[in-house]
């Protein structure tokens, strides 16, 4: 088994944190997205959508999409549980993971793609659209702050994949999309401090 990874991109980091929380050691191979190595014929044969991460199983099967890979690892190694122990929890955690993915993470991703130099040659950028997505990113951070309230974690009462997605999204928004969380968002700041001091955050 091995993982095609890229240390600087947000989706591969979601998987690395997940793997670290599970206490697993899986070999990784770097694929430089900045140099377009994810679009070579070899990589497109592994993942025709061109994204990272991709996991290669021992039978040669390739699985793409971060959350699909996480779900595979969750099935093989159920503990510690990160995606729900029963029907109710699985639905609740998936709901929160998707809310953060489609809201904060998605908006930060679109802001990055439409405003960052890196994407100049790759796609048709609309800086005006990028700005609307920065504003959405700010709104989503406020929204998340209100939703976290006094809760220790995003979904259920323990650390789950929803925290991983949110943690990666907050860092990504700050580092690459030009939106840093306002320190006045106290709940968000408290939660962020807690999740980012876990050893997995360095993965």
């Amino acid at each position: 088994m091995k993982i095609y990874d890229f240390a600087l991109a947000p989706n591969p980091r979601r998987l690395r944190i997940f793997v670290a929380e599970k206490g697993l050691k899986i070999p990784v191979e770097q694929v430089d997205i900045f140099a377009g190595k994810n679009r070579t014929p070899e990589m497109l044969a592994r993942n025709p959508a061109g994204g990272l991460p991709v996991i290669e199983l021992d039978d040669g099967t390739h699985l793409a999409e971060s959350v699909a890979i996480c779900r595979y690892l969750e099935s093989l190694h159920p503990e510690p549980n990160l995606m729900g122990k029963n029907s109710r929890e699985q639905a609740e955690i998936e709901m929160w993971n998707r809310r953060v993915e489609l809201g904060l993470f998605g908006a930060a991703g679109r802001a990055f793609q439409h405003t960052n130099e890196l994407f100049k040659e790759r796609l048709k950028q609309f800086p005006e659209y990028g700005e609307t997505q920065r504003e959405t990113t700010r709104q989503q951070l406020q929204w998340l702050d209100a939703q976290i309230g006094n809760k220790p974690f995003i979904a259920t009462d323990r650390f789950t994949i929803a925290d991983i997605t949110a943690e990666v999204a907050v860092d990504f928004a700050a580092q690459l999309a030009g939106v840093t969380a306002d320190p006045a968002l106290r709940n968000l700041a408290r939660w962020y401090q807690s999740v980012s001091s876990r050893p997995s955050a360095n993965a």
Binding site: L57, T61, A68, Y72, S87, Q90, A91, M95, F126, Y129
Partner: protein
């Protein structure tokens, strides 16, 4: 138990088709009119602070939002027929394909609609040029999907799954901005004909 639904929107249809495939037909639906923004009113935001539809209300008052989270709940409480995979690897494969269909077909059709339609005028800041980019992306992904379906009956392999539901709804929703299956896309047309003629497609 009940489901907050809106018959005119694509995401609620995903859950209705899923339930029809499961043979679950005893859950009451309550309409929430998106056209008059009833999903943005304070009472509804208590049910789903993201404001989206559909939402599942469990008998203990818990609310589960996000179509796929709702589907996962029903997959767990009623595993047959399986629509989200049968073992660890298959579950990951189905999730991978469902996510590809979500981001690249349904997501692009939605990006096209949100940024160009009169429906969203005044509701969100529209960037028409970006809507056109989404449309072009969706059209390209349909070309690719046609090649994927050359050697398999359904999107994720030999069995009908949630990925077919998402793709069906993405393609049907694409009609709102003239994203259509082309005449030379015989595999895609064959698949669309097959999934559209299942009784669930009318749900």
């Amino acid at each position: 138990m009940k489901i907050y639904d809106f018959t005119g929107a694509p995401n609620p249809r995903r859950v209705r088709v899923f339930l029809a495939e499961k043979g679950i037909n005893n859950i009451p639906f309550e309409q929430v009119n998106l056209a008059t923004a009833d999903n943005r009113k304070p009472d509804f935001l208590k049910i789903n602070p993201m404001g989206g539809i559909p939402v599942l209300e469990l008998d203990d008052g818990t609310h589960i939002a996000e179509s796929v989270a709702i589907c996962r709940y029903f997959e767990s409480v009623k595993p047959e027929p399986p629509l989200m995979g049968i073992d660890a690897k298959d579950k990951a494969v189905v999730e991978m394909w469902n996510r590809r269909m979500e981001f690249e077909v349904l997501g692009m059709a939605a990006g096209s609609f949100r940024n160009t339609s009169d429906f969203f005028k005044g509701r969100i800041p529209q960037v028409k040029e970006y809507g056109e980019v989404c449309k072009t992306a969706a059209v390209k992904r349909l070309e690719w999907l046609d090649t994927v379906l050359a050697d398999r009956e359904f999107i994720a392999g030999p069995r009908y799954t949630i990925a077919d539901i998402t793709a069906l709804i993405g393609i049907d929703f694409g009609r709102t901005t003239q994203i259509r299956i082309q005449e030379n896309q015989k595999n895609l047309a064959r698949w669309h004909q097959a999934v559209s003629s299942r009784p669930s497609a009318k749900a």
